[in-house]
Amino acid sequence: MTWHVSQEMMASYRDNASSDAASHSLELHLVECEPCRRIAAGAVESDRRDRIWAGISEAVDTPKARWLEEALRRFGVNAHIARLIAMTPSVQPSWLIAVATILSLAAVAASSLGPIPFLVVAPLVPVVGVAIAFGHPIDPVHEIGVASPTGGFRLVLIRASAVLIASIAISVVPGLFLREFRWMVVWLLPALVCTLLVLVISTFTHLSTAAVVVSLLWVAGVTATELAASTPVASFVGPAQLIFAGAVLGLLALLLLRRTSFERIAGR
C-alpha cells in the first residue's frame, strides 16, 4: 500500500465535497485498508452512521416484491394483504400458465365439440386452485397460519378471493378461442358455486377430499343435465343461471355459519 487517506481527504469525502474520481479511489482503498477504515468510521457521527446502516439493512432485507404484489398495490390493495395474496401457491405464474394452457385446449376443442368441454373445465379451475391454496396437507405452513390472528376464516377468504379473481382473469386468454362471447361469462356463477361448495364441505373433511367430491359432482351433474335436456348447453343458460345464483347465496350463508371450523386444524 503506497498511500493512506489523509484527514483532509476524509473530511472532504464525509461532506460530499470530493470529486467522483477521488471518492471512488478512496472507497477502493477503504476496502483494502483496515487502519483507514477505522479513520473513516470515526469521521462520521454515530447517529448518521446508524441511520445510513439502517437504510442499507432495510434495502438489502426488504423481500423483492412479486409481480402480483406490485400490481395489487397499484390497485390500492393494502401492502400486507397484497403480500399475503402474492404468497398463495395457486396464483404463482407456473400455476396460472398451466391453467391458461388447459383452458386454451378446452376452448380450441370447443370449435369442433361445442362449448361444453370448456364450460365443464373452467369452473373447476378455482376449485383446484383453492385446494392447493391452503389447508393441510398441501399448505406446509397451515398450522402456523391458523394459530395467527389472521389465520382461519379471514385467511381463507383472502386466498379464495385471490384464486377466484386470478382464475377469471386468466380465462380471458382461452376465451379468445371461443366463437361466442357468452361462453366466456356463463361459467362464472358455476365457478363461484363450486368454489363455495368446496369451502363448505372442507369444514367437514379435508380440503383436497372436498375438491375431488365437488369436481366429480360437477362433471356428473353437467353430463346428466346435458343428456336429459332437450336443448344444448342447458346446464349453463336460462333457468340454470338463476339456480346457480340462488346456490351462491345459500352457500355463502352456510359458509358464514361454518366459519369457526376454519379456526381449527382438526375435525375437518
Partner: protein
Amino acid sequence: MTTLSGNVELVGVGKRYGSVQALGQIDLTVERGITGLLGPNGAGKTTMLRMMATVLAPDTGSIALLGRDPSRAEDRVEIRRRLGYMPQEPGFYRNFTVFEFVDYVAILKQVTDRKERHDQVREVLGMVELTSVAHRKIRTLSGGLRRRLALAQALLDHPEMLLLDEPTAGLDPEQRLRFREVVSQLPKRPIVLLSTHQTEDVAALCERVIVLVEGNIRFDGTPEAMSDIAKGRVWIAPQPGDEAMLSWRTGDGKYRHVGEPPPHAALVEPTIDDAYLLLAGDRAVGITR
C-alpha cells in the same frame, strides 16, 4: 370460562381421536416462567399444546388462555396476537428466503407497519443466530437451521405465551445450549411451555416439569422434586438383575437399576432421568404392552 388472571388454565380437558383417548381429564394451571412438558411419544403433549395454541378444540372441559376464552372468536384473535407457536412439524415455503418467511409470519401476526415488521424480523433472526443466512432460500438450510427458523417465527412480536413443541429435536449439543440461552433470557418473563422427551432440557431450563403419560399427568413439580421421586430406588450393581423395572449397563461396566435392586447393589443419588423412567415406565423406552 374467562378468568381475570393471565395464566393458562385447563379444567377437565379431554380429547379423543376415534378409539384413542389422547388426553384424559386434565386440570392444569400454567403461570409465567418456563414449564417443561415431558412424556414419551404419543403421551398427548402435542394435543395439549395445540389446544393451548387455539388450533384444536377440546372434546370436554374448558380452557382459558391469558384470561380469555379461545372458543369465542374475538378472544381467540386476541390470544393469537399474544401467542408464539412453534408446531412439532412447522413446515416452510421452501422457495422463500429465511427473511421472507419470518416476514410472512409477521404479516400473519398483523404487524402491518413495514419498518417495524422488518426490525422485528431482524431482531428474532439475531436472537437465534440466523442473521448470516437471512437471504438464503429455506430449501438450502440444514435441519438444525430450520428448527432455529421455526423458533425465530415463534419469538416474533414478544409473545406473552410461547408454546414450543419439541424445539430441541434435531439440534446438536451446541445448538441446544444456544436454544436454552435464548429461551431463558426472554424479556418480560412470558409463559413458556415446551414439550420434549429429553430430560436434560427440562433439568437445565425448566422451573416446573409436567410429566404426561398416556394422556394423564403423572407428575407436576420442580425438576428437583421430580428427581426425589427416585430417591432410594436407583442402584448400582456389578451384575444385571431381573427384579428392577429397568436396568442397563453403564460405561464403567456396572449396571444401573431403577426400581427393585439385585443382590449386592449399592444405593446411588437419582437423576431426573431415573425419575422419568419410573414415572413413564416401559413407555419411556418405547415398549408398549
